[in-house]
Subunit: 358 residues, 2 copies
């Protein structure tokens, strides 16, 4: 892939993902300082950026390791020199298990499991006590996605892990429901006590999510946090109180291609650029510099900007920054992103870990 | 990019986009036969598949050319030997205009314009009467996206095109509102009459959209149709009556990775695989073989399958085909797709025209 080489923001063709490098690095540093002050480990989720550069930066700042959602992401990060990786996913099937085994031979790896079928695959694949795979039990503390439903189920899986010569019990992991820290704390504390009553200690208790990251103190049982979106933030995170509009580091630079009426402008960014994620928001994004203007509709390559609050506010040819609802799904749509500092383009960076299967 | 080489469906790792080649080719042939019988030209939109193989097949079956939404798509198709390309987009800015000029030197190219600023860029770039660029005027006949708002505006732009030595007036183009064929017909017929009254004839009158393709007879003024999704169809198109479930040629093969409760299964396909497009549907997709089961939620790499209509219907490790709401945005998320015939993998094909900027 040949990459464009613009020197300034004005030379970037649209649509393009723009990363304000200064803001992104400030977001990383602020989160690490908070984790250090609160005394918990930070294990950032790289799904948001999918870039080795930022993963290395996160570890250099003090993260204990990184979190990935797919083996393919973890393989890219291992190739880039990352050495401690948690894959928060149930991994199954011969092809993926073979890749997982190869990965465990070269980095400090851990995965999660929430059911006996997945665990059986891990037990069968990992048989060497000299190079065990670390497995955490995923717990549904309210998120309603994966995870065992009760502490008793967590105990049963933990016992199976402890009994497997090629596995090592890594503790508990949850993807918590936003705003429900107390429920998560109660669930996990009960599970830890139940495990302790059966002489099983939890080396790590891992929770996640940028929205409640600043309320980490409400889940004191957790030893590790896995925020992802905090690096860029986005419209939805700002709405949830995780940061300010000014701290958002990712925008999509677009051009106004049509102004059919004074109340309507069309941008060259649609659902194949911004995604259709609503994430609880009205509309599909806002203008960074005029946040009262909302994208009211998207087709694949067109975005409809509702100008009714400011009729005629933009003209054909204007370039505007869109703040998307959800940053993570936007970077996944692009082969490369631009790092900028002010108006200067610092680098053009391939999204190395996108497009991976499993 | 190294591609996997499975021989059978069972050897494909998930998540994966599966194209039933027999069904896709049947969909192409049926549409061409319909266009031939009705006596209008077919100019398929390649945004859905983004594959040179299918674009060539569409032309071989009788299409007059293809439609693209971006210069980048058109460049890929020109490289693959396609010779007649319409880009249904307002193109502006020095970088894109230079690419457009290079493209016009090697294929029979046409574009659309709906405003004076875009037209000014085309007039300035294309000055050679020996190699003019064909420009159609985009008309908003009810779709509410781009397009001039009145036949009088269409006339004004057409006159500017006619007056430009390096441009050639190609006719009218619209992206119509689904189910509003009568309005589209009335609008276009009025514009054609107004142009005729000013001695301007319309070589082409181009309309589009798979949903109303079978009602092409309701827009007799149109000479050309630009359906895209008809090749694969999807859940939304079936809901709109454009085809049957059995005719859908694209599915996403997934694996059940968790079954936290009897009423809930988790698939390894989320918004980074299926997109979040609702397209008027409830939920984010259905199971092809059990269409009463719906994906009730998505996170980035997980899909929540609501099993309440059939508790316990699937188990961890089961592989199920998801019929997505909207096929076009799914192929855009993948670097390659699998062509299958029955259980046999016929080919693994890079999605050549995805990831293009502008």
């Amino acid at each position: 892939m040949s990459l464009p080489q613009p020197r300034t923001l004005a030379e970037i063709d649209t649509p393009a993902v723009i990363i304000d490098l200064d803001k992104a690095l400030a977001n990383l540093a602020r989160a690490q300082a908070f984790a250090d002050a609160q005394g918990f480990a930070l294990r950032p989720h790289i799904k948001t950026h999918k870039l080795p550069f930022f993963a290395r930066k996160q570890v250099a700042l003090g993260a204990v390791g990184i979190t990935c959602q797919k083996i393919g992401e973890a393989e890219v990060m291992a190739d880039a020199g990352l050495t401690d990786i948690l894959i928060t996913y149930n991994i199954l099937g011969a092809a993926k298990l073979a890749r997982l085994k190869a990965l465990n031979a070269r980095v400090t790896l851990s995965v999660t499991a929430d059911n006996a079928a997945v665990l059986a695959g891990l037990v069968e694949t990992f048989t060497d006590p000299a190079r065990p795979l670390t497995v955490l039990v995923e717990c549904d503390t309210g998120g309603g996605r994966c995870g065992v439903q009760t502490p008793a189920e967590a105990l049963a899986l933990a016992q199976s892990i402890v009994a497997a010569p090629g596995l090592r019990f890594g503790g508990l992991m949850t993807f918590p429901k936003v705003g429900k820290a107390a429920e998560s704390q109660a669930w996990l504390a009960e599970a830890v006590a139940l495990l302790a009553a059966h002489d099983i200690t939890c080396p790590r208790i891992s929770t996640g999510g940028t929205p409640d990251f600043q309320k980490a103190g409400d889940v004191p049982v957790a030893t590790e946090f896995r925020p992802g979106t905090y690096i860029y933030l986005d419209r939805a995170q700002v709405a949830m109180g995780a940061g300010t509009l000014d701290q958002c580091a990712l925008t999509v630079l677009t051009t106004v291609v049509s102004r059919p009426t004074p109340q309507r402008a069309i941008l060259d960014a649609g659902s194949k650029t911004l995604s259709s994620d609503l994430f609880g928001q009205q509309g599909f994004g806002i203008l960074r510099d005029r946040p009262e203007l909302t994208l009211s509709g998207l087709s694949e390559e067109h975005g409809v900007l509702d100008l009714s609050p400011m009729p005629g506010a933009v003209a054909v040819g204007d370039r505007v920054h869109v703040l998307p609802n959800h940053a993570c799904v936007v970077t996944n749509l692009f082969d490369y992103v631009y790092f900028v500092s002010g108006d200067r383009v610092v680098d053009v960076v391939p999204v190395a870990a996108r497009g991976r299967v499993g």
